[in-house]
């Protein structure tokens, strides 16, 4: 599961929150045609659903975004 985030700092903040909840994840550099440079929060923990992750991120004002996969 990948959550696309424009800002590296926001991605780090999001990763920090997820890790504090025991959810394995990492920040990756992303480049997509038409979407340009950004960052992606890659969730490597199979035990968590996208819905749970997005709810957690929403609590710190991070939008999961339509382009996330």
């Amino acid at each position: 599961m990948n959550i696309n985030i424009k800002s590296f700092t926001t991605a780090q903040k999001a990763a920090g929150l997820l890790k504090s909840r025991g959810i394995r994840c990492m920040v990756e550099r992303r480049f997509g045609r038409g979407t340009g440079c950004g960052f992606s929060l890659k969730i490597t923990d199979p035990s968590v659903s996208r819905r749970e992750v997005c709810a957690l991120l929403g609590s710190i004002g991070v939008d999961c975004g339509a382009n996330s996969t």
Binding site: S7, F8, Q12, V27, C37
Partner: protein, 379 residues
Amino acid sequence: MIYFDNAATTFPKPRNVYRVFQNAAAEFGANPGRSSYPLAVRTSEAVYRSREVCADFFGAMPENTIFTLNCTQALNFAIKGLAHKGVHFVISDMEHNAVLRPVHSACEFFGGSYTLFESDEDVEITVKNAARAIRPNTRALICCAASNVIGLCNPIKQLAELCARRGICFIVDAAQGAGVLPVSLKDGINIICAAGHKSLYGPMGTGLLITDGKFPLKTIIEGGTGSMSESVQQPDFLPDRFESGTINTAGAIALGAGVEYVRKITPERILSHELSLCERFCVGAGKIGSVRLYNEILPESRKLFAPVVSFNIEGMDSAQGSSVLGERGFCLRGGLHCAPLAHKKIGTLETGTIRFSPGAFSTPQEVDMLLQELKRIKI
């Protein structure tokens, strides 16, 4: 060599700051926030950890904590970022040129104006003076947490309340306050500008712009941020919006170590130590006939001041006095300290002053040695 010029930059720094700086320069060599190979990621993470430490210290969100080159750059971002046609600013009568010049320049460029208010030892008088200076078109009130010449503190909480009531932005120049005085967004400040290399004990070439996000700022510098590179528009999100170009990576990481040091010792203890040294200096210097003090930090007045004392030696201008002391191994700055407004206020615009500013590592014995030397100086 005895160093009493900590208001210009603190020296020495805590050992851990040197260690972290050296390690960051050697180990975190990639450009942060630009790539995803492991070295770049490790560097980015180290910068982020420092950003978190700094943000927490000032009651801010990490993304609203922007690394700058110094306090002056942060103040330029804040002041010019708020300026518009016909803008009006309010500033105190003790401001450093880091505030006065950007305000003056922005007003010249935008056809605006600014009003000075008199800072007083009495909090109520200061707030009344500031309130009287605010106009319908005032965009921001900008003031120092404490004067870099006479150490007089501005009543930050009360001024924050005033600005909130009047719906204007409150910007604090915390160059002389951050790390010793209580300066936090939690007190209602909208934007804090701080020097990393003074009482936060980081390296030179570091500063912070910290915002609560309530007053969006226009940019005065645009460029590569590693994000949204496909767009000709500067990112609208923080910190990227104000961190164009490569930051002082090792400096930013080491600044986190400086802030950790301050947090561990606590700003209250550092302030108490430094004010005690100022008291010792004022009591001793007050007994030397040839020394004239311009602000006296004594037990009954210490709550009013940050740890800075201005003085002169009879028969010498401040540059001459500081040179004489320099030749004898004492590092004190003479001159106007880039703050002509404060000198106008105390009547030393022609002579300047010599500034005594101890740091966390200064000792009572060093103060006594300076006092002994001042007694020996013959005109």
